[in-house]
Amino acid sequence: MTDEPLLDIRDLSIGLRGDGVGYDIVRNVSMSLYPKEILAIVGESGCGKSLTALSVLALHASPPLHITSGSIMYDGRDLTKVSASQMRAVRGAEIAMVFQDPMSALDPMFTAGTLLTSAVQAHHKVRYDVAKSRALEALADAGIEDPRRRFGEYPFQLSGGVSQRVMIALALINDPKVIIADEPTTALDVTVQAQILDRLKELRAERGMSIILITHNLGVVASVADRMVVMYTGEVVESGMVEEVLATPQHPYTKGLLGAVPRLNSDAATLVPIMGRVPQPNELPPGCSLPIVAAESSMSAGPIARILRYMVTP
């Protein structure tokens, strides 16, 4: 591991602007990705981790979201300042992404093969048969058993696991240096999750890629990542090597997260829920983001509470 980061996010803030509102959702986030490492970004839903990752490739919804300050340095360039066509050249070829829900992230109207060959041809002026053979290779690399068959299939014909592998193939196909995987296993069942994660680890080893893994699952972090960044309400609250952070969490939120992880050796009754919810950025008192776990108990009121209750209760 060299000291030179491959991807360096410095003081990044992302704001929501429009319709008379304006506040930052992500504030002063900094993190670095070093060659060949797996960096995990951890946090609850809505804490800004996905948005940070998306902003690397300028994939955040803009408008209404804008990068308000900070830089994303990659290969000597600030990605927040490159032109649209330069950014397009980076996407997929230098930095690729794997998304959370493979079923909706693949265009339902096209076969896996079409998606893959389009991705090849977006970066290389090659004939279709060349693109096709690369696609088949990528499918195999992503751990798909019958690439020829899958090549001609539509997303709806693929299982969740296979879809996610197609996504991975799509990410691998142009041999990028960085893969950003945004909760790649959340939508999958447990055995498939493990396979996918193993595949990512193998790829790192085979190809020497760097991976940013976004997750809220500390178990995944522990088994895969080298380093981790903990985000909470749009800010980085803790970062460091995985073993250290997990062993000696400094921040109360990290402690809370750890407490919420079920352990096989523990009694289910000791599972500690994190009370309340992630405060919305506009609800935070100015200059302070530390009512860390607002022990709010008024879950019976308000629409969001209702949705939460709906999600929590079986």
């Binding site: 994939l59 996407r91 997929g92 992230a105 265009d107 339902p108 998606l115 389009s118 709806f156 014909q157």
Partner: protein
């Protein structure tokens, strides 16, 4: 594919049923040709004999079967108004209506889809606002009035286009535009909202992340997805064109099926009403069927 076959069979049965309904409605409603064919001085016995000869004293189902039998042999009967063979009349009328209808369908989609796409692409621009407002207005303006305004400006005042009748392409312009106006407005609206919907889909982000160009994403992926709802409702557009053709053909003196049907209804020329209404029912049904076939073919999920 299996469900498609089922749809075809069911559609055919319903078509048969509705043609019987139309037949019965017209026959039972005093659409007895006796009064129109025989002189007023004819005696009751004459009338009874005539009814017997014409098979009008048979049960309605039998009459219908006879009618269908003749229909398949190409014997459509004669018009009561001018005694012309309906089969002779029909060829010309169908040709004219097809020209007008097909042109209008082309305009509906050929103009509606691109405008909707541009509006979605440039959403919230002045162009989008203009197109969206125009489409709201386009859906509210009654087409017969639009026709009058169009004739007044383009024929009467400016003299650019003929106001009625038939001839070259220039005769087609006004009726086709008026006939397709509402369809264009609706298609613009649908295309725009479908494009915007699909632009927000996860797969667009995936394609962007893979480095595909915006143009390719837009024109290949988003468009293809947006066309699905448009195709699924294309059958309704056919129906709409058929329905409005009844009015628009009348205004522009376009000698098609619509104008003939309205005139025949006004004249109580029942054989003509019967045939042309069956024809339009058929066209509407086939339009809906074609749309569902198109939808099946365009949608990989159903195609497989």
């Amino acid at each position: 594919m299996r469900s498609l076959l089922k749809t075809v069979v069911l559609t055919f049965l319903l078509l048969l049923a509705s043609s019987l309904a139309v037949f019965a409605a017209i026959r039972l409603s005093g659409g007895d040709v006796t009064a129109a064919r025989l002189p007023a001085s004819a005696t009751a016995a004459d009338r009874q004999l005539f009814r017997h000869q014409m098979g009008l004293d048979q049960p309605i189902l039998k009459q219908y079967a006879t009618y269908l039998g003749k229909l398949f042999k190409g014997d459509l009967g004669n018009s009561l108004t001018n005694s012309a063979k309906i089969s002779t009349l029909a060829v010309e009328k169908i040709k004219n209506s097809l020209i007008l209808g097909a042109t209008s369908m082309l305009l509906v989609f050929g103009i509606g889809i691109p405008l909707g796409m541009i509006a979605a692409l440039k959403r919230n621009s002045w162009f989008d606002t203009g197109i969206t407002s125009a489409s709201v207005a386009g859906m509210a303006v009654p087409n017969f009035w639009l026709a009058l305004i169009a004739i007044y400006f383009f024929s009467t005042r400016l003299g650019w286009l003929p106001s009625a009748g038939q001839g070259g392409i220039k005769y087609l312009v006004l009726p086709a535009f008026v006939l397709s106006a509402e369809g264009i407005a609706l298609t613009v609206r649908m295309t725009r909202s479908a494009m915007l919907d699909n632009l927000n889909q996860d797969f667009v982000r995936t394609l962007r992340a893979a480095g595909l160009s915006e143009r390719r994403i837009y024109f290949k992926h988003v468009l293809r997805n947006s066309l699905l709802p448009i195709i699924s409702l294309a059958g309704l557009r056919v129906g709409q064109i058929v329905g409005y053709a009844l009015v628009v053909e009348t205004i522009f003196g376009w000698p098609g099926v619509g104008q003939s049907l309205v005139n025949a209804v006004l004249r109580r020329d029942y054989p003509v009403v019967q045939f042309f209404s069956l024809l339009l029912v058929l066209v509407v049904t086939l339009g809906n069927l074609a749309a569902s076939i198109g939808y099946t073919l365009a949608n990989p999920k159903l195609r497989k």
